[in-house]
Symmetry: C2
Subunit: 203 residues, 2 copies
């Protein structure tokens, strides 16, 4: 079964090698990892006239639509939250009603992470809630990221795995990813799935 591997890993210097590494873990668990870098077998002719950014986006949307589940690298990216491209893709898969799994190489809760990012700008308001220098609320639900992300993973039947990893190895350590792939395989392969026979998700 196809599983889409969302994440900012595509921005890494050796992105192709990284994709191959993530796919090899999927293969060991009986899943076919699909990378955002993969070509589309049947890319429509008309797309060749589109700017590269549009083509990449349409290709990724097509990959997601053909996958049985999505596994997202939610390691914080240039701010307290996950990469927005990855989060877009979670929303897309969530609307398709299929399982979304997440993993992150930060185990620091979202509220703490946001406060650390804001530094002295994070203040308590008179009612005790945390807010930033513009008075905007800091979410404090004890979650791993914005509530739409954590909730989508849970509501979809997925799981979120975090691991406290040192900065130097946060784009190489695969412990949380491996747990995440194992859980995805259990979900997709161990029980009869109501999704089978719908024409997607087949390798």
């Amino acid at each position: 079964m196809r599983v889409y591997l969302a994440g900012p890993d595509v921005f890494l210097p050796a992105a192709e090698a990284r994709a191959a590494m993530l796919k090899s873990v999927c293969t060991r668990h009986g899943l076919q990892g699909v990378s955002p870098l993969d070509a589309l077998d049947d890319e429509p002719e008309a797309w060749s006239n589109l700017p590269e950014a549009r083509r990449i986006a349409l290709r990724n949307e097509a990959h997601i639509s053909r996958s049985a589940a999505l596994i997202a690298n939610l390691t914080p990216f240039r701010g307290p939250s996950a990469d927005v491209g990855t989060v877009f893709e979670i929303g897309y898969m969530r609307a398709l009603g299929r399982p979304v799994f997440g993993w992150s190489n930060s185990a620091t809760p979202f509220t703490e992470r946001t406060r650390a990012f804001l530094g002295a700008a994070a203040q308590r308001s008179p009612d005790g809630a945390w807010q930033d220098h513009e008075g905007m609320l800091i979410e404090a639900f004890g979650l791993s990221d914005n509530l739409m992300i954590d909730a989508a993973i849970q509501s979809s039947g997925g799981e979120f795995f975090t691991s406290a990893v040192e900065d130097a190895s946060r784009w190489t350590d695969l412990a949380a990813f491996q747990k995440c792939v194992a859980a995805t395989a259990r979900k997709l392969l161990s029980s009869p799935s109501p999704l089978e026979g719908e024409g997607w998700g087949e390798g």
Copy 2:
């Protein structure tokens, strides 16, 4: 027709008043603005047992599913990109195949904004591309945010409006929002819509 108003506006100190203001602009254009803060008329009994964060997320997903279009406030939020909760919702609506419109009170292109955020950590790699201190690529497609966002808006038939607004008024200035609502109304109301009669989007 219902239009979902996604954005970090829900984190503002006077979030209810803000929602009322955004809705009043929609009303003037013949649209019914739906805020993430709005109650769901027919919220399932079972949700009362869920944690608040899950209930909020399910409610927002339901609001989006019942809306004919989505208008997203993509003003940068705690980093170079838009709020991730908002971006999740764009992905969700995009998968439903309905129009997504965006507006932002920053007119600075995404590449420049990311470089400003990273400061001295942004460097040119030997091949001339911009990258951060971890060697991770900085997107340079001349877009307003991550390519999945810009491309989704365009592919869905929506539009993205930006306005160069001073920091002090970036959560109050509504010039870009007003243009965005006007464009959404033109899209939804001026031509016979293939979406009519599907049971959603009616006020």
